[in-house]
Symmetry: C2
Subunit: 184 residues, 2 copies
DNA sequence: CATTTTATCGAACAGAGTGTTCAGAAACTT
DNA sequence: AAGTTTCTGAACACTCTGTTCGATAAAATG
């Protein structure tokens, strides 16, 4: 890839990241991004069709990184085997989120939250779907799934919204204590 | 209030409701609302400052109705007393949501979802905050609250997103089975 | 019923933002 | 050095927003 393209691309990403610390995504204009990134107007549009596509791609890169290596098939196999490994995987995810501390809070408003949730749900579904079904609670399978996954994602969002203060271990510990049934 | 005002107001509400069945809120323009409602442009703006304020007020009316009579101080006192009454209150809320079946699904996208969540959280917080703290799980109080309330709201959203197919009793039953600790 | 008050209408307007185009400058490749 | 690709930025057409104002219609008042 041409160096120039990489340069403008990262310039745009960085600009948006910086702007997101001050403004909500909805109130940021393309012109602001262009000025902050120090690029020409037509350059922006040759990289991204719209402002929304930019956000989408930025989120995709970010979230795919957050969930990437944890889902390597060999690893996920190990993880879901027993209680302690599940705990380790969940903690691992939180640490990955912690890596993006700077971005994640400002990104976590409006449309981007949905992208995050979609990614997260798909990921947890594929990593834990099977395990959850085998949990010992007398409710329909689909309900069980939505409850366990939904409450986890909600917990993570809560953790992020409050500034990622608590240690991942603490969050996962509390979360698992709140889960129903014997899920060892 | 002037009859004319009431007429335009409901015309606008109805128009937006109808449009929301076909388009997402973000892609609806003021002009579309005006045309659909058959009113003059300046009339719209004499009623609502912006499109967002319209949505906000519409949601406020709707959600305050959903949560209104269930939170009458005397009643909530009864409700949180014992296990069965809590169940009854939760079911009651779902039935109220069911009353708005037509609107609620289309409204439940984008910005309006946040208004719903805010209302819902505040309500549950005030109705059950005390009760939750006394639940027998060894996690911090604030975590306990966010988990119990968050997972309930998520469950309700899940129920709505799938078309409110299940009976309220069924949803509440499953939900309570998933809750941790002895909360009788 | 006549009068006064208030709401609606709609065209016209200014302003902000979007996304496109294009010719020349600048940077990369071979 | 020549050829290719990307960047630049001004200019443009468009869409949507929110305001203004005089004319018209409807409601409230006495």
């Amino acid at each position: 890839m041409d160096r120039r393209q990489i340069k403008t691309r990262t310039a745009i990403y960085d600009a948006l990241t910086r702007l997101l610390r001050k403004y909500r995504f909805e109130e940021i204009t393309v012109q602001q991004i262009i000025d902050e990134a120090n690029i020409g107007r037509s350059t922006f549009y040759s990289h991204f069709e719209t402002k929304d596509r930019l956000l989408e791609q930025m989120c995709n890169e970010m979230f795919s990184h957050v969930f990437s290596d944890t889902l390597a098939p060999e690893k996920s196999h190990d993880y879901s085997k027993n209680h302690e490994d599940k705990r380790a995987l969940l903690e691992h995810i939180l640490y990955h989120i912690l890596d993006h501390k700077e971005n994640i809070r400002s990104i976590m408003n409006g449309e981007s939250e949905k992208i995050f949730t979609r990614y997260f749900t798909e990921y947890l579904e594929s990593a834990f779907g099977e395990v959850i079904v085998h949990m010992d609670v007398d409710v329909p399978d689909d309900f069980k799934k939505q409850f366990v996954i939904g409450s986890f994602i909600h917990t993570v969002k809560w953790w992020i919204a409050r500034g990622l203060k608590e240690k991942p271990e603490k969050i996962i510990d509390s979360y698992m204590k709140c889960l129903p049934g014997k899920n060892e």
